[in-house]
């Protein structure tokens, strides 16, 4: 009898292990930043979230990838190898990733503030600045998927449709550098501006509206100013127009001569000016974002 009881007690103890102390490895701050980056990158595409959070990212993913895939598919069946050009695709995706940034930048940082999650992050081995950097990196990486991803499809398409892929690769590979720098700069440009604006908003809808407003109103204002201005000023005012700046930068990085009837063509500015403007905007937006989050530290 006593023996049975002992066995039962043992079995019971097996089921109820009680509280287990954690004695394993504890990772450093870099791990926290990486974790937040990966979690936020998934959030940008609605992964690990409810169905509604996946709608906008899925639509934009479809719109940027389908033309590239269709173009490659058509070329492979017809043998007609004129694919969408890299610079055209970059212009085309710029507008879409601006929409993506307007929708998802608030998803990445405004919700954390709105629902108080930021409090929990800051109570962990993480500073406000590192938090903001992880979020910025995640948004830019998500936008790279949307810009560089389809370009890579086009690149691989060109290589593998060709009768001799190796020769085609040798012809084409030098474009990879401009492709990466081009898509990264445009993604960082739009992403940093969107996050800097969103860092001031208390609610997602206001943040999205402000980002969209920025990318609509600034070009409109720049256009009005240019129409009023004359001579040299008129030429330089193109640098105040974000969309034209992206077009001018795209022409420069892909070594394309701007057509004369386009605004960039008429302005006749060195391509590096557009790049310089983007870098300046990136620096300002990043500084604003980091300063906003540095306030959260003691």
């Amino acid at each position: 009898m006593a023996e049975t009881q002992a066995v039962t007690a043992k079995a019971g103890a097996l089921y109820d292990l009680g509280y287990q102390r954690y004695t394993g490895q504890r990772l450093d701050r870099a791990n926290a930043v990486r974790t937040l980056f990966a979690f936020s990158l998934r959030t940008a595409f609605g992964l690990g979230r409810g169905a509604r959070s996946k709608v906008i990212p899925s639509i934009i993913l479809g719109v940027v990838f389908i033309p590239a895939i269709v173009s490659v598919g058509a070329a492979s069946t017809t043998g007609f190898t004129a694919l969408i050009s890299y610079s055209n695709h970059l212009q085309f995706t710029s507008f879409l990733i601006a929409l993506f940034a307007a929708a998802q930048a608030p998803e990445l940082i405004v919700t954390d503030r709105q629902y108080g999650v930021l409090t929990l992050y800051l109570a962990r081995p993480l500073t406000g600045v590192l938090y903001a950097l992880a979020k910025l990196a995640a948004l830019v990486a998500a936008m790279m998927v949307l810009t560089f991803g389809p370009q890579l499809v086009l690149f691989l398409g060109k290589v593998f449709i060709s009768p001799s892929p190796w020769a085609a690769f040798k012809d084409e590979w030098t474009v990879l550098g401009p492709l990466i720098i081009g898509t990264l700069t445009v993604s960082y440009f739009i992403g940093s501006v969107a996050l800097a604006i969103a860092s001031f908003a208390g609610r997602r809808a206001y943040a999205s509206a402000s980002v969209i407003g920025f990318f609509l109103l600034v070009p409109a204002a720049a256009t009005v100013l240019r129409n009023l201005a004359t001579g040299e000023t008129k030429r330089y005012l193109i640098l105040a127009h974000p969309i034209q700046v992206i077009i001018g930068f795209g022409n420069w990085i892909f070594h394309i001569q701007a057509k004369l009837r386009t605004q960039v063509g008429r302005a006749e500015l060195p391509g590096s000016y557009y790049f310089a403007v983007m870098l300046a905007v990136i620096a300002v937006a990043t500084t604003v974002l980091l300063l906003r989050y540095r306030r959260n530290e003691a």
Partner: protein, 306 residues
Amino acid sequence: MSLISTKDLTKSFSDSVVALDNLSFDVEPGIIGFVGANGAGKTTFIRILLGLLAPTSGSASVLDMDVGGDRMAIRRVVGYMPEHDCLPIDVSGADFVAHMGRMSGLPFQAARERAAEMLRHVGLHEERYRLIGGYSTGMKQRVKLAQALVHDPKLLLLDEPTNGLDPAGREDMLGLIARTGTEFGISVLVTSHLLGEIERVCEQLIAIDAGKLRYNGPVAAFTELTERLVVELDDEIPELATALRSRGLDVDGSATLLRITVRDDSTYDLIRDAAAELGAPIARMQLTRHKLEELFRDQSVAGAHG
């Protein structure tokens, strides 16, 4: 080793708003209640311990680590459950707690396992795979507690954990806090504006009022200090109060309602004898508690232990 230690800790937000006023105390590991009325400085104190706010002057340390220099090391071994909402809506409880575990330094697999374990401990079972947005207030409080525990902290900071819960939910939460402190061996600092609630689960008590330390010691002694006996009379017999005072009791109140500090059982005998002598018709006798706010106006408490 001291759990929390402060020296002349002061935090003022402007010249006129002093949230913490020269706090100096030491507490040993255990379950510590931190009581004060709303706005007494409880949340400010917790934010200083986490290194989220810098003290205006003075110093504080957690587990012998300074809140200024060692805040990252402190946050690694402290779990924090804020008073207000702090959960995203469109993530599942299991995913969120695991994510928070990884943010605190646990490797992926360990974070998932401990998240499941902690959610089970706080009483969330199948619900943990649903999105948090659909949870009740009680379930959200449980997730908040689980995320504070997931990385196996040495100290839990719980800010008003029973706020917004119904009576049954409060009981559950207090039970969980007691279990966490006793069975898990994790020290707990739990704040509340309701003394009656947390004194049941705490071993030690710290009371602050308007940023000043009013009490630091065992719960039992504080309970004695704060218990009052209310004696209600059918008629006005002003002589009763005088008679009781002359017998050395601490009495205040009006002619028909007296509040008396209970020192020990002999207090009851004194009241009985005095009432019998004067023929005072006692309608009701009841042990009550001071409200915290009243208590701190009573300088005898502050004088005795402050």
